[in-house]
Symmetry: C2
Subunit: 316 residues, 2 copies
């Protein structure tokens, strides 16, 4: 049961009244600096401050009441946890979030604010999954995986679908950050299966320090990593099985970039767009800044994935 | 020759193609915290990152070529300087900006980026005015005062006019920060002389530490201050003569607030709106947070005046 553009369109209808239609932003100065025309989809202004609201909302609004009544559970470095907690409040069900103990405070607070139960684990995928499995065995809660889940993928895909609707004229490519791959895989289906944009390129961008999607993409075999050290806390997860399959099928390339460049791009976006974005959201621009010659004269849409971070721990 | 709403409407037509129609933003969580409904006009997303682009653009696009050819000059703590430098580039004329030596680096850089000449002075109104007078005597440049100027007042008034157009239903009041009073006086004329909003209240908000507008308003006589110590660097100037006259005639009240509250409000806006705003822009929300009972259940529009500040010197 693969996700199709029809699933993404249904997700869009399902979540429309609960989520924001976030604006597209541009900066003449950033365009001058990089030599291409960038259009930023401001998902930092989305509900809970990240695109993750789309997937969680779609998952819980397509779940029947019997399942909902068992309560929902997930593991998340932060934004999916907050999104599921938020959506669970809308659907009046109980929510548990397993979080790595090194998640940013702002993300822990957000999950707590939506009245979810937080269970901390070690910052590895193995620890996350073991904690979730134990809780499911004990309680019977329903897992809503942060990315390896068809309803989540369809929900995240609505950000790209909406971007297509909002653009006044076509772009050459769309770039999204890639962590678990929910956003990238959903975006790829939304673009490649659309009537009008199927010749658009879809690219992922990933930190050097958490390059599992890139390595898997280049080798054709999914790679797992454990506890990667990157400032882009939203991209520390390993790309999911479903996500990897969609990415190898539909995505044109994956770009890598350094920690220093991510910080530089983040600061540039803060300064020029006057918007708070989290490090993960800066990764696509960072990748362009690393090799601008590849993008000269192109028109590029970028999804700014989120805006949740600790204002007391800025990287400059 | 008083400024009228017709001047503001003409300014709107004049500047429309050069400036942004900035969006209105809301936050359910901030509304819950303060107990009223706040609508923020995001002038931090305006050209040069502040509403000042409106006034400078109006002033230079209503100036004839003979005058423009003499070059323009101003004194400014930052945003008006950047705005005049930007507008001077559009009008292809030379621009000099006298800046206090304690202006934020980001604001100095902005003026320099628009190719204006910067002349530094001491951070007092006397020093600012003396430096400008000496340069005018030597060069014959045309002064474009940062606020005590009819075209500037009319230009700044377009932010309130545009807010009225964008609101889906009326608000009870509009609050703006007050420094020199350009924004507040222009806003007051735009609201009080409008057909549909003349019963709306117009309030100014000012730091305790730079309370010249408040003291003048309460006493009926304009007060000058020198080098006030407030984090709200955009509000350190003394309210202008024309501005004071308009404020006493049209403004309903001026509110005061503390430095601590300004920082708290600024951080709240960063966290919840995901937007970079400078300290001056947080002053109206800070004033509401000081006495929320006065605003319970009200619908309040606030102009977020700008978003230019040093990211290396955040107050937390």
């Amino acid at each position: 049961m693969d996700v199709t553009i029809a699933d993404i369109e249904r997700a869009q209808t399902r979540i429309k009244s609960h989520t924001h239609r976030t604006p597209l932003m541009t900066s003449r100065l950033i365009n001058q600096l990089v030599g291409c025309e960038l259009i930023f989809k401001a998902e930092n202004l989305q509900k809970i401050g990240a695109f993750k609201a789309r997937g969680a909302c779609n998952a819980l609004f397509s779940m029947d009441r019997t399942k909902l009544n068992r309560g929902v559970i997930t593991h998340s470095s932060g934004n999916h946890g907050a999104a599921l907690a938020w959506a669970a409040q809308l659907r009046q069900t109980q929510c548990t979030v397993v979080m790595p103990n090194n998640a940013p405070r702002a993300k822990k607070d957000a999950v707590a604010n939506y009245a979810a139960e937080i269970v901390f684990c070690e910052p590895t995928m193995a620890s996350r999954e073991a904690s979730v499995a134990a809780l499911i065995a004990a309680r019977g809660s329903v897992l809503v995986h942060p990315y390896d889940n068809n309803q989540i993928i369809a929900g995240q895909g609505t950000a790209a679908l909406e971007t297509l609707e909002q653009l006044d004229r076509p772009v050459d490519m769309l770039i999204t950050p890639v962590g678990g791959g929910g956003l990238l895989s959903g975006s790829a289906i939304a673009i490649k299966e659309s009537k009008n944009a199927s010749d658009m390129l879809v690219l992922g961008a990933e930190p050097d320090a958490a390059d599992d999607a890139w390595r898997g993409f280049k080798n054709g075999t999914r790679v797992t990593i454990s506890n990667p050290k990157t400032i882009a806390d939203g991209l520390r997860g390993t790309v999911g099985v479903r996500n990897f399959s969609i990415i190898t099928q539909h995505v044109d390339d994956i770009l890598l970039t350094s920690e220093e460049r991510i910080i530089e791009a983040m600061r540039l976006l803060w300064t020029r767009l006057k918007m708070i974005i989290e490090p993960s959201a800066a990764v696509p621009l960072a990748a362009i800044m690393d090799q601008p010659e590849q993008f000269f004269g192109k028109r590029v849409a970028i999804i700014l994935s989120g805006g949740n971070l600790d204002l007391d721990k800025l990287p400059w």
